[in-house]
Subunit: 545 residues, 2 copies
């Protein structure tokens, strides 16, 4: 407190931060380019996803002359919200059109924002995007394994609290036996036992041992009510059975730093963010304009693209390439050999999502408002309930979200088999309700033109990416710095450097891979690099004159 | 699954429910009184809180002739939302008037609804009250103890995940030593170790022991970013220090069945619920009408009240008394001796809340969106951040919510000292920001006329109440049936029976004490009892004719 009192807010803040006792701010500095500093400088921005849009938004504020080329008729890239009328077309021509109720929607790409992703949240505030809570985990959500509990789903609150109860009981047993007298000093022994009693909601048995015999934390088999209606506890699930079930991934997921119980979403769909950017940018964004060639010129770049069947071009002083690496593999270019090598070496994950419109039986019959249920066996690993329009009649529930390659789901023979598996997963969790699912929309990112993948594989980046997404998928894991390769440059390191006047951006150029925050921070980084370069070359010119 | 396949939804549902594997529905039956069944029957309903309003709403739908007498100028009772212009007047005349920004509000009474409180949520839906998520816990919330960590606040995510890490490490040590070979079979030993590794986010050290050396779950001292900015882990807090801090109450609170991470609130304030009831009831509700006498007549009741200084009366066939028991102590009445005894024996808790308007520094500087921070020492035990209007400029933060009687807070000499303590608690959690708090509003329910207390003390009910509120306050605890007294009737049991034609309602007549759900279920119960009585007396009359 002394520092706070004498040094004011800043001193206290940074001291505490240095001690690791407070949330660090999301980033060292907020991006602020000098107004007018980009005057007369032309920038071609490839890709109207969140990275490209954020770059254009910041640069045009500073006076740069920006052109954004977007292959699709809409902004956002992977930030794509499906509503009635939305069309999914695979690269093989397969087509689906959503025909849902007004208000029903599905975020095919990003669908939640952690509160620690301050840059994206700051944009939402600045652009006036109304936000609401995204409920990422719920104790009413379910965990299911074909080989445990006769295949019946367990409530998250049972798994969590019965597990903790057993762990606390076992540890208290060890402590009473003296097994940990070396590790836990005598002074702490009793305090530790007191703690374990609260931690696990244990009771003392006749011999004074702390035992776990169930807890209201694990839910009740009968609710309390008026008059004589008292609550009834559930008998605890046995540790042996919980070990069989292996629910840990779904349970611990909520503790991962970037997947918390409550997150954010824009009201009405995640694409409210790119549309808000696009509105600010107006006709700087050229739609239906897929890039066909990326060329270097003596003092800049020349980008060739097609628009409505016509070949067009844009000349610029700098280029920010915010296209997926998968696309760079298909576009003629003048990239340096190390960049070509990095592009070749990069592979993408091929995650899919399947959404269904349905009556909200998960709310009415399961007290489930948002959150994610997990299945340990079978081709579908999760069912994700909507956080928008809670308590309304219908909504879009997701059944299935994972990678297809080398997976049980990916090996299913066709789309109908995949949809059947998706419905069956809901039926396993919510027996009798699977048939309520209607009008599925299947988004296999590996087959979506202009993406052909969901996000860069961290592996492909030789330790570069190390982003949140890989960790989130398999639960647990670590957020510390990835190991450096023994020798040579990783693809990730290559994409961090400009190739002449071409700069690479996108979440794959950040350590927050597969998140919008990574995309905008990567854009901020290259925008600053270009701004510095313009400033020093202007300085050089002035000196020469 | 067999049952589900052969018996359809219902069979599967009820079988699973019987096995305790699924959420039980909130209540056995939804209230449905036969339309017109109350025709010609007059009911006086005392108290326009949620219990009285719900009773009147249901009875008028069935044709009963209802009169609701409410002492205040507004409906809702303890369900009271303060906004600019709201006046708090103590029983000693002390007066405060809120002068806040539009949109700023504070729920002085109930402030969150669990998803398992289906009856209240069903009313919100039926009455068209727009709902949103109430964020009840956040991993970014803080825990503070003057005597631990030099008084510095710790993030909830550190306390939770460092504690689990240490517990998992200690237990894995015991298991490797063979201390639990009797409890955990050999088959389970390795699976248990695998589980503990994931559970605690442990690493294997050089000797193959699983150790806890920190986890990204506990947060980072540096966020990951673009380019070369990798995340940095925090060093773990030591178990010894965590035991010193004794944070368990604040940490485990979120696991209590009725206090989950995400709950519900009406958009704009909890009083949207009573106002929605009141709108439906129109002039059935008489405001500024405090009851002065409750009398029995040969075939009904006579209620005397005052309105604008004039003595008035209402005669009715039945009475639902939904006043706080504290008020019954002050009203002349014809109650039976056992009821008078029950009233005498009942005491109320005197919880208070203090709210302050402030810039949302907890959001901008601490990534804290909703949730509750806890202080283990000092007169203020918690700071509760608003879930409404997230990401806006200002909001009302609560600093202080607990009982006053026999407490450190209650012993503070005057209101200024209490407000100073409230501000100091925020300063402890958020050094340098205490001064941002403005325009406090202090609601001591023990001093609020027409309540003189926050909720019935469960103790005073001799084991009857057993409601959620007592448990929630002290963390942990059990939801099973309270023990019955050795002999005689508890006050709770007395209030469950009608006194002639007078029926008692309110949350204190339920096992969901201090919650709106208890209030409406208690009303449903007596409304059904009256409906049955009317039906059988009509039958008797018809038989007599």
């Amino acid at each position: 407190m002394r520092v706070g009192e004498t040094g004011g807010y800043s001193a206290a803040f940074f001291t505490m931060q240095a001690m690791g006792l407070m949330a660090a701010p999301a980033n060292a500095s907020e991006l602020k380019l000098p107004v007018g500093s980009g005057k007369g400088v032309r920038v071609a921005i490839l890709g109207g996803g969140v990275a490209g849009l954020a770059a254009a938004y910041e640069m045009q504020k500073a006076g740069f002359q920006c052109t954004v080329l977007e292959a699709r008729h809409r902004p956002g890239g992977r930030n794509w919200t499906l509503r009635t009328g939305s069309v999914i077309e695979f690269d093989d021509g397969t087509k689906q059109t959503a025909a849902w109720q007004p208000g029903s929607y599905m975020n095919a790409g990003p669908a939640r924002i952690p509160s620690v992703h301050k840059t994206v949240l700051a944009y939402c505030k600045e652009l006036g995007v109304p936000m609401e809570c995204e409920i990422n985990t719920s104790r009413s959500a379910l965990l299911q394994n074909d080989h445990a509990f006769d295949g019946k789903a367990i409530e998250m609150r049972q798994a969590h609290n019965d597990t903790r109860g057993h762990v606390a009981e076992l540890l208290s047993k060890c402590m009473r036996q003296g097994s940990l007298d070396q590790e836990i000093g005598k002074d702490d022994r009793d305090r530790m036992l007191d703690f374990l009693r609260i931690y696990g909601d244990l009771r003392a048995d006749a011999k004074g041992n702390y035992v776990y015999t169930g807890s209201n934390r694990a839910g009740v088999s009968r609710m309390a009510g008026a008059g004589n209606q008292t609550a009834e506890l559930r008998p605890p699930l046995e540790m042996h059975a919980l070990l069989d079930a292996n629910f840990w991934r779904g349970m611990l997921f909520e503790e991962d730093f970037d997947y918390q119980a409550t997150m954010f979403q824009p009201v009405g769909g995640m694409d409210r963010i790119p549309y808000a950017f696009a509105k600010k940018l107006g006709n700087l964004v050229h739609y239906n304009a897929p890039v066909t060639e990326i060329r270097k010129t003596p003092n800049g770049v020349r980008i060739l693209y097609k628009q409505n069947g016509t070949a067009k071009r844009v000349e610029a002083d700098y280029c920010i390439c915010a296209l997926p690496v998968t696309m760079l593999k298909t576009i003629a270019n003048d990239f340096a050999p190390d960049v070509k090598k990095a592009i070749d070496a990069t592979t993408y994950n091929d995650s899919f999502k399947i959404g269904w419109e349905s009556k909200r039986f998960w709310e009415t019959d399961f007290n489930l408002y948002g959150g994610i249920s997990w299945l340990s066996t079978g081709p579908i690993s999760l069912v994700w309930y909507p956080s928008g329009h809670l308590l309304s009649e219908t909504g879009v529930v997701l059944s299935g979200y994972s990678g297809e390659r080398n997976s049980e789901f990916g090996r299913l023979p066709n789309m109908q088999a995949k949809l059947d598996a998706s419905r069956a997963a809901v039926e396993k969790l919510h027996p009798g309700f699977g048939e309520q699912l209607q009008k599925p929309m299947y988004v296999p990112w590996g087959k979506i033109p202009y993406n052909l993948g969901s996000w860069a594989n961290v592996g492909g980046f030789g330790g570069g990416g190390g982003g949140g997404r890989g960790r989130g998928r398999d639960g647990g894991g670590r957020g510390d710095a990835p190991p450096q390769p023994a020798s040579g440059e990783t693809p990730y390191q290559t994409f961090l450097k400009p190739d002449d006047r071409i700069y690479f951006a996108g979440d794959h150029c950040s350590h927050i891979n597969a998140w919008m925050e990574g995309a905008v921070l990567a854009s901020h980084r290259v925008v600053e690099m270009i701004s510095e370069r313009v400033k020093s070359s202007a300085g050089a010119k002035a000196a020469a004159v």
